[in-house]
């Protein structure tokens, strides 16, 4: 069965859709048509593949973690999206969307960002292709990911603070959508995950499918088969969908890992926000709850609609881990493998570590979606509080 087909009408089972202000409907339709035509165009695909190889550094390696495997009693493989240019998987999606924006005649990219990785990737692609770039970022995230704010500015982007609500990713998305409503004629909204209105969840998945396609080939070469378990952290869910897409039609167990403070599937019920129907943390009145996670990139109360569908049909399961477990995993991978992970994929390792007995002896593929450089300051504040760093990992008063 083909589980990840093209979603008809933007639906993944009961989820997805296009719940946007009327103004944006024609913009979404234009984008859908443009993506369909580009994706079927070998010249476009060739140009994207060239950029992914020569600029972003694909294919990313598969690394077998011998010391960690021994420590955990299983066989751990990492898909090294942390080694991509700009430091995370986000660049796969952004290069595709930026090329598409140029193809549509747009001159400006608008983006939201949580940890800043998607913002940095978007600012990078804008610099590369000569586009203007505005990135919205929650004010609180600008404090805890200050390094990425400066990176975006160095790259020539304007970073605008989202000052409402929790001042994190959810609020940055609101601001980016408000911008797009007013500027859609000249601007492309470069959404950073498999969420939002159709065609984004599908388009962003297709642009990240390369992760799973490469990983499947790499695993078959190394293991002679698919891994037993494929795991990834889930904010909106793009790196997870990317790697799942290579294995969804096989037998591997698929496990998404959410932060306990932003567990849309773990703690949510179906709702509609930011353009699609999906699981959502909300109160009994339908007000969206504010997520609270150590990781700015996962600090989001919703999740992409295809994950809700995969959960509903039982093809993937979703676990959640606490901030403390994540910090322990962050240190564990750094010491045992010489790889400082981003806090986001440290969530996936935290689950593997917790579930090690159940996973004993099995081959586990973990999508290492990003590197930890951006988190070093924040972790210094937490792990060495008297070091003089002002890195803070709790909401500022």
């Amino acid at each position: 069965m083909v589980i990840m087909a093209e979603p008809v009408g933007g639906r993944f089972g009961d989820f997805g859709g296009r719940f946007v202000p009327e103004t944006l409907v024609p913009a979404c339709e234009e984008l859908e048509a443009a993506f369909c035509s580009a994706w079927a165009d070998q010249e476009f695909r060739g140009e994207l593949n060239r950029l992914l190889a020569d600029y972003a550094g694909r294919p990313s390696p598969l690394t077998e973690c011998h010391r960690l495997s021994e420590e955990l009693g299983l066989r751990l493989l990492l898909k090294r999206e942390d080694l991509n240019h700009t430091g995370s998987h986000k660049i796969n999606n952004v290069l595709g969307q930026a090329l598409l924006a140029v193809r549509m005649g747009k001159t400006r990219l608008v983006a939201e960002t949580g940890a800043g990785q998607h913002g940095v990737a978007t600012a990078t692609a804008a610099a590369l292709l000569g586009l203007d770039c505005v990135v919205y970022m929650g004010e609180f995230d600008m404090e805890r990911q200050a390094l990425n704010v400066f990176r975006m500015q160095l790259l020539g982007a304007e970073v605008r603070a989202a000052v409402s609500g929790s001042r994190t990713l959810k609020d940055a998305i609101n601001e980016a959508m408000r911008d797009w409503v007013a500027t859609m004629e000249s601007s492309h909204y470069c959404l950073g995950s498999v969420m939002g209105p159709h065609p984004y969840p599908w388009m962003v998945r297709e642009l990240h499918r390369v992760i799973g396609d490469e990983a499947r080939e790499q695993c078959r070469r190394l293991l002679g088969k698919d891994p037993d378990v494929v795991t990834a952290c889930v904010g909106g869910g793009s790196n997870a969908i990317g790697i799942f897409s290579g294995f969804v039609d096989g037998d591997a167990e698929l496990v998404g890992v959410e932060p306990a403070g932003g567990a849309a599937i773990g703690r949510g019920v179906p709702g509609v926000v930011h353009g699609s129907k999906s699981f959502l943390m909300q109160d009994e009145h339908g007000q969206v709850l504010e997520a609270e996670s150590i990781s700015a990139g996962l600090d989001y109360p919703g999740i992409g609609p295809e994950h809700s569908h995969l959960a509903a049909i039982g093809r993937a399961t979703y676990e959640s881990v606490t901030d403390d477990e994540v910090v322990a995993a962050f240190e564990l991978m750094s010491r045992a493998e010489g790889i400082i992970p981003a806090l986001e994929p440290a969530h996936a390792l935290a689950w593997v570590s917790r579930a090690r007995e159940k996973l004993a002896g099995r081959a586990v593929l973990l999508n290492l979606s990003g590197r930890g450089d951006k988190d070093v300051d924040q972790m210094m504040g937490r792990l060495k509080p008297d070091s003089g760093s002002d890195g803070d990992d709790g909401p500022m008063g």
Partner: protein, 259 residues
Amino acid sequence: MSAEVGPLEAALRARRSRGGKALVPYLTGGLGDWQGALAAAADAGADAVEVGIPFSDPVIDGPVIQQANDRALAAGATPLGVLDSVGRLDIGVPLAVMTYYNIAFRFGLERFASVLADQGVAAAILPDLPLEEAGPWTEAADAAGVETVLLATPTASDERLGRICARTRGFVYGVGLLGVTGVRDELAASAVVMAERLKQMTDLPVLVGVGVGTPEQAEEVCRVADGAVVGSAVVRRMLDDGGPMAVGELVGRFRRALD
């Protein structure tokens, strides 16, 4: 098309057939003395009033209505609380509720529609529920006798505007510009164009809102449109703690500009 004309459409048609222009202020439910402000707006000559049920993520609203939402929520406003109070008011003009789709979805669409009907609310406006997604809601609303007002925007093709005009009830809400709610210095040229396009297409009352912030701008757009919706300017008065009197005073100024 349903043969029955609902109370909102009837009120707006009545204003038009008297040769007048309709005025529909918006205000945020749960914010300060909003019930007093509703009554004051009606007394000052509103043909209908829109009441916002605050939502945590008002994506089509600018800073003024965002702030109003936040304050109302912080003061404990809930959908049922707002609707209960509305049911106990009798301001003499039809009421429309404006909120985001998740509020209705979480409530349960049929239940939300029937609560609106029970509380005497004539119409609903859900700005993040476009035509293609509106089916389940309009079915519930039609069954309960609640008029669903759809928005029409400058980005829509004529073909799309035609479909919107065919499905909307009460009136067709022409959005005056590309952008979020808020007061601008001048009326956007797109507001008049929007009104012209819609007037050629439908006999329903055509009201323009979003970016209509002063009595002069309302007068300007109503040279073509059948009426205007005024949101942020009214809510600004509420945020400034002007109370019902200030709201009534402002609505009165819009009324005189349109008469």
